[in-house]
């Protein structure tokens, strides 16, 4: 096992709520693989889709704050689990490293001297595993192989586009293949594995997202998949929670389990990772508390 494999961890909102199993399974897997995953002591929202507007730098500041904190805490590498967080952080970081960048504008606006450098390297957990862990290491930890299970890896869009931040070939992604193979699963390639799941349209146009979910799931099924492995909480939600809605128009659709790839890893490695699945705080007070800005947020200080 490699010594001293340490990486900063940016969880993001969903990993602490809807996608707890993703986090707990990933952390359990990382532990046995000898990766020290150190959660940033303070972090805020990654900025989500709003930050992806190419022109306006303002929504990027949320990401910038996270990157600054990572640098302050001495992390040269940080990792995310959520694909959206990966995408926003990486794209923002690229603003600081690429030629035509917004580095000066952002640093000036935040009155930072010398300012954020762009030196923090952002990994998605999948990318981290590919670069630091050999598939044989994964294989050696497998106690109950997923023999006979046909798993279709589904990548969605956020890990692959734009291609500047892609963790794999955007048209032919196969980063999950060696991991799933190491777990003993049969890997199913299907043409919809890099198609959009519908993303945030799920909030306003659920029918449209259900149509996409149907095509993705039925394509994987026709290729013989038993389950779909995802790496993004939003994909997970759209593909699993909307199956009921899909069945209203396509009653014949067989149920398709949607799992995080880390869950498969943990299961094959015999790790106990289960949390109370999908805890969404219904408590109004708790929700309000989450919405209230913290008076101690250093980001606010910087903005003054």
């Amino acid at each position: 096992m490699p010594e001293g494999l340490r990486v900063g961890y940016f969880p993001g909102c969903t990993l602490k709520t809807d996608a707890r199993d993703f986090e707990s399974s990933a952390l359990a897997v990382a532990r046995v693989l000898g990766i020290e995953v150190a959660e940033l002591s303070r972090w805020n929202c990654c900025g989500t889709v709003y930050s992806l507007d190419a022109v306006n730098l303002m929504p990027r500041l949320a990401s910038v704050h996270n990157l600054i904190r990572a640098e302050e805490e001495g992390f040269s590498e940080i990792m995310t689990l959520c694909s959206m967080c990966y995408n926003t952080l990486k794209q923002t970081n690229n603003l600081f490293t690429s030629k035509n960048n917004g580095r000066a504008a952002i640093n000036d606006f935040l009155c930072l001297k010398p300012g954020y450098s762009g030196r923090v390297k952002i990994y998605h957990f999948l990318e981290f595993l590919r670069e630091k862990i050999r598939p044989e290491q994964v294989k050696s930890l497998v106690v109950s192989p997923l023999a006979g299970v046909a798993v279709a890896p589904y990548y969605g869009c956020l890990l692959l586009r734009p291609k500047e931040i892609a963790i794999d070939d955007p048209e032919k992604p196969e980063i999950l293949t060696p991991i799933l193979s190491a777990l003993g699963a049969k890997v199913i390639d299907f043409p919809f594995n890099n198609e959009c799941c519908g993303a945030y349209q799920t909030a306003v146009h659920q029918e449209a997202v259900a149509r996409r979910a149907y095509r993705i799931i039925s394509s994987a099924q026709s290729e013989g998949a038993d389950m779909i492995a995802v790496s993004c909480p939003l994909c997970h939600y759209n593909l699993s929670a909307l199956q009921g809605l899909v069945r209203s128009t396509h009653p014949g659709l067989k149920a398709m389990p949607i799992v995080y790839f880390t869950e498969l890893m943990a299961r094959a490695m015999g790790l106990d990772y289960r949390t109370e699945i999908g805890v969404i705080p219904q408590d109004v007070a708790a929700a309000e508390a989450r919405l209230r800005p913290s008076p101690n947020d250093p980001g606010r200080e910087a903005l003054k």
Partner: protein, 653 residues
Amino acid sequence: MTRLGVFICHCGKNIARTVNIEALREKAATLPHVVLAKDYLYLCSKPGQTMIADDIREHRLDKVLIAACSPRLHGKTFAQTAQRAGLNPYLLDMANIREHCSWVHIDGAEGTEKAFSIIKGGLGRLLYAEPLEPFQSPVTKRVLVIGGGVAGIQATLDIANSGYEVYLVEKSPSLGGHMAQLGETFPTLDCSSCILTPKMVEVSQNEHVHLLSYSEVTRIEGNIGQFQVTVRLRPRYVDETLCTGCGDCVPTCPVVVSNEFDQGLGARKAVYLPFPQAVPAVYTIDWDACLNTDKLIICENCYKDCEAKAINFLMEPQEKMVEVGAVVLATGYELMPVARIGEYGGDEYEDVIDGLQFERMLSASGPTGGVVRRPSDGRIPQNVVFVQCAGSRDPEHGIPYCSKVCCMYTAKHALLYKHAVPDGQVYVFYIDIRAAGKGHEEFVQKVMSEERILYLRGKVSKIFKSGAKLVVWGADTLSGRQVEIEADLVVLAMAVIPSSGSQKLARTLHIASDLSGFFSEAHPKLRPLESNTDGIFLAGAAQFAKDITDTVSQATGAAGKALSLLANDFIKLEPTISEVEEGICRGCGLCVSICPFGAVKMLPSTRTGAMVAGINPILCKGCGLCTAGCLSGAVTLKGSSFKQIFAQLEEMV
């Protein structure tokens, strides 16, 4: 006492717009040694040149400075003027106050000031100029043509029919290139091989042509008028002089592989003729496919069956030295591999093919005998999708340019398919239709309107397999909708790219190529047939994607260029080359390694016998690299000596 003359050109308004010519002339007249300063509307015009010549004689001018455009444009013009007036042309120099000054300035005062400084610099340089005499070099009256496609064939025939010897070097076993693979040609639907084969035969029968097939140019030395070329003849393991082309060697050959000529759709044996009309009609053993190796020769079936005893397993590669006066480059193109477009399947789907593969299916002598079939199951496709601009006009895939021929050949493909399968449905995805050629637009319009082919304006985003069919996703930008088509066969009009190996050849020949790898022409408008190395001419798709008509036109043009060079017994070479001062050279040999043309060699000094650098005046191109690199300052570039350059700098700053 030197007598200098300065002539300032208005170039119409090109210079006069931002440079005050009057003021400039008055200032120039006051400079030391200047005995005459004049201006004129167009110095390059006949009256302008006559004026300069008359003034040189009348005012007994020793040296003349022409303040006008770039010497690249009119350097030769004024050199001839000087010669006519009896002045050594190297005592006339040009100060570029157009490209370097008036064109880049808006403000008149600044422009005039800069023009004056350029003139002062030019005069400083001119003061130390010395008369030089061009020297002559004989012209070898033979031409090398590289590439045996239609461009190379046409150039070869044009030159050979004028009575000059031609060496035609072709990489593959046969002449013909891509044109031999095509079924019918647009827009007239001529049978491609029917019109090409007679020309191939003519090449093989012309007594002036030395056909070197299955060969490659590995080395070229020398310069215009006398190139020494090394050609590597790959062993075909069949003696060309003995082989009768009977084909008796084929039936018992135990190895079947895919035929490159059929673009991987058809078969051939390890001993093969790529196609029935191949020239030379000589069989070749594909050593990569043959069961025998260099060390182990066991299978002798072909050897036993050859009555002419032409098979020779011990054949070795040969090198042939050829001396020529000019070179025509006609190395052609190939299609970008489908594998480079992941969203179109990246060459994973058998029924996604490229345009050349479709051509082979349309060809009567092709692997399907002219019937369009699906490679996966051999069935005749009912729904065919053609995708234009597959790779072309797509910087994301590294090809920003339009491949020029795809709109036309796709229309032709659609037409020929519909003629064969009248109830089949054809979809064509396009960005624009570019049919700029004689009869081209009419052809496309006819196909669109008469053949009931659905032209969809938009790109294809993804192709994937669904059962036995292919699903094509695309956009129809005219209706604003996304479309999804179930297709039996998809034909990609892949981008035209330079043939593989052309970059290596460019390095061998010391010629430039553009960002896409096509050979660069000397001037995009006025010298489209010449490379930037004198004596090397360009023909066909090696210069840029073009159709057969344009290729043949360019090939004939390149042949004409080569012939006009061969019409001279001698060519004049510029004397502006490097010269070594033997007494200063310390023999370090740095210049030998710097020279990109191999013009510098270490030779014993004529006086002391010590090893010093010596420059071959024929090979030297006058680039000045050795001059700049020499640690002891022993090398001088004639016409741009250190004295001249420093004088120019001192005057300017």
